[in-house]
Amino acid sequence: MSEKPLKTDEQLIAEFQNGNENAFVELVDRYKDRLVNFVYRFLHDMTDAEDMVQETFLKVYKNKHAYREIAKFSTWIYTIAGNLARSELRKRKRRKTYTMSALSFDDNEFTPVDPGKDTEGIVFNSYAGEEIMKAIYALPEPFKTIIILRDIQELSYEDISTILDIPMGTVKSRVNRARLKLQETLSYLKE
């Protein structure tokens, strides 16, 4: 028996715009893990990341008619989530309650995620993985975003260009510089 072909994201959002709430649920199921994965790399806190992703879906729900099929749904939702995550980061910096990036590396304290704390699938046993997470968090904001989008979310240059609203050439050079910066940071950490 042949399986029903999957609807595209754009078809689902169109159905949701026409009042089908099940289409929205389908979009939530498709994107919740990806977005939690994305936002977590910014905030380094699972509860905050989930909260931010919920905010993202609420924005989609409230502003469903703001979406026009000139861009892919994925770039739209990543843009919303990215903006919320960056805004949260800025708030944190202002409040100075979470100053990891403002401190020197020697002062930075990486808090490993407790695997039993409602975080299915998170196991940071790898030293390299832990160090990389620490280094990503410490990257300057534009580099951090581009590394997360390209090397963790594995989005295309084209999608990143749309999400960040920068030319493709800039995306490529920024990815390169961000990777070099990350590599440089990790070399420093290993010393």
């Binding site: 919740k32 893990d33 699972m46 940071f124």
Partner: protein
């Protein structure tokens, strides 16, 4: 310290790894890496970093994610309904109707019950008003006196006064 050539080569690493360089530049990078140990080291470390990034564990949303989102949406919908009601033209019309009704009711009350303005001590302007303007003052004094001696009775009397001014007048008159 990297020279200009090394800087240029490092800028090509991403596209070099993705095989998107022109054959000419690719050959340049190959040749440079074969002769420059510091660039080769950077390139190898970079490759290792990218591989590790791709292997980072995939996080998943918690099992309560959908139910929490649903309850937040329900709250949002309730707010939206109230906002719609508040901003709708029907609500404005209803508001005007209630205001008009209240004004009408107060007007009718004043017409039917002309003593009401006298409670504040002003004299009634109605021609048919035959009540002695001094009477309420005396009545209030009587209530005061009685309340000093019989608190329970006075409470009953005062309640009656609040409920119906006509009644209070009769009660006070009776006491007098």
């Amino acid at each position: 310290m990297q020279n200009t050539d090394c800087t240029f080569i490092c800028e090509q690493f991403t596209e070099y790894q993705e095989n998107s360089l022109s054959s000419e530049i690719r050959a340049q990078v190959d040749s440079h890496l074969a002769s420059c140990s510091s660039c080769l080291e950077i390139f190898q470390k970079l490759t290792g970093v990218i591989e590790t990034l791709h292997k980072l564990p995939t996080l998943k949303a918690s099992s309560s994610f959908n139910s929490t989102l649903l309850s937040r949406i329900n709250t949002l919908n309730q707010e939206t309904v109230w906002q719609k009601i508040y901003h709708s033209s029907y609500s404005r019309v209803a508001g005007y109707a209630i205001a008009a009704g209240l004004i009408f009711a107060i007007g009718i009350n004043i017409l039917i019950d002309p003593i009401a303005p006298m409670k504040s001590g002003t004299q009634s302007n109605f021609a048919g008003d035959k009540i002695n303007p001094n009477q309420p003052t005396e009545s209030l004094a009587a209530i005061s006196d009685s309340s000093a001696n019989h608190p329970v009775d006075s409470l009953t009397l005062q309640n009656s006064t609040i409920t119906s001014q006509n009644q209070s007048m009769q009660l006070v008159s009776g006491k007098k």
